[in-house]
Amino acid sequence: MNSNNQISSTIIFICFLVASVATLGSLFFSEIMHFVPCSMCWYQRIFMYPLVIIFLVNLLYPDDKVFKYSFSLVLVGLFFAIYHNLLMFGIIPESVVPCVQGVPCSTVYLNWFGFITIPLLSLVAYSLLFVLLIIGKGK
């Protein structure tokens, strides 16, 4: 049944869970805890939220095309996540932060165990998706 091009549904299912947790988590931070998202966060959200639907639809109606749609979104999101983390760690100086108004993107809302910040969570989610999709594609 599974053609060579088709990523196993287990991997897509894990991808779906990762994207869902990232989506619901970000909504929890902004809507329930009332952290104001900075513009970087918005870009990462824009590329994360549709993934939930893409993975879900693929799980319900499997085909072999999910990789190209999801991976392109993951790639762009991952780029923003890396950039945002470089800002957070101060590797890119704050003066070049492209936030026009509202919250500066280097604002630290959350700091669990001294190093887990919201942008890091985003980076972890995107990296997981990146790796999972590569593994799924490689098989």
Binding site: F13, L17, I32
Partner: protein, 215 residues
């Protein structure tokens, strides 16, 4: 495909999980805020500098975070007036400021100057009555208030004097700090004995106040 059931189940579980965490988190936050209300000083809900009205026979403190330039505060003003008229013996109304708009500070200064003449509520009524005139979005003219306030039967000379001499910066910054502590994000926000009013409506405010009075 039998996996579809697992997928749909996980969707349901994710949503239920989200709701559960949200409910738990909000209950926890409410509890934290209510705990703060048990302090005898009343802080951070009430400070000595805050305008306070009512006889408070039943020890029910209604706290309003207010911004005289805020349209929602104006819209809700009749409701709080009506509730407080009913229960001014049983409760007290304490006003805290959140000067979120451009001219809020100016107007708060006027209000505080009028308070020295014992005309606080009359002045607030006039301020809200003419808010659409002096607080137009594209063209605010707070100076107009000097003319409008004649309606509040104030001693205008004394009002000018008190306006020039009162420094409200300390008061405003303490009010803001307390608002942050209480997670107040907008105006008007009400607390009745530390319980936040969740829905801005006459009926819910009345219910909340009555539930504290007839406890």
């Amino acid at each position: 495909m039998k996996n579809k059931k697992v997928v749909l189940l996980s969707v349901v579980l994710l949503i239920i999980g989200f709701i559960a965490v949200t409910v738990f988190y909000q209950k926890n936050e409410d509890k934290k805020i209510q705990k703060m209300a048990s302090k005898s000083s009343g802080a951070p809900f009430v400070r000595e500098h805050s305008p306070s009205f009512g006889k408070n026979e039943n020890k029910v403190t209604i706290v309003e975070f207010l911004d005289p330039e805020c349209e929602a505060c104006r819209a809700f003003h009749p409701a709080i007036k009506k509730v407080f008229k009913e229960y001014s013996d049983e409760s007290r109304l304490v006003v805290r400021y959140l000067a979120n708009h451009k001219n809020s500070k100016f107007v708060v200064r006027l209000l505080e100057a009028a308070r020295k003449q014992g005309k606080y509520n009359e002045t607030l009524d006039v301020i809200f009555k003419y808010q659409p005139k002096w607080a137009q979005h594209n063209n605010p003219k707070p100076q107009l208030l000097w003319d409008f306030l004649v309606e509040a039967n104030l001693d205008m000379v004394k009002l000018r004097e008190d306006f020039d001499s009162n420094y409200i910066d300390g008061m405003l910054s303490l009010d803001r700090a307390d608002a942050t502590k209480l997670k107040v994000r907008g105006t008007p926000t009400f607390f009745v004995n530390g319980k936040e009013l969740k829905r801005l409506s006459y009926q819910s405010l009345l219910d909340l106040v009555e539930s504290e009075i007839y406890k």
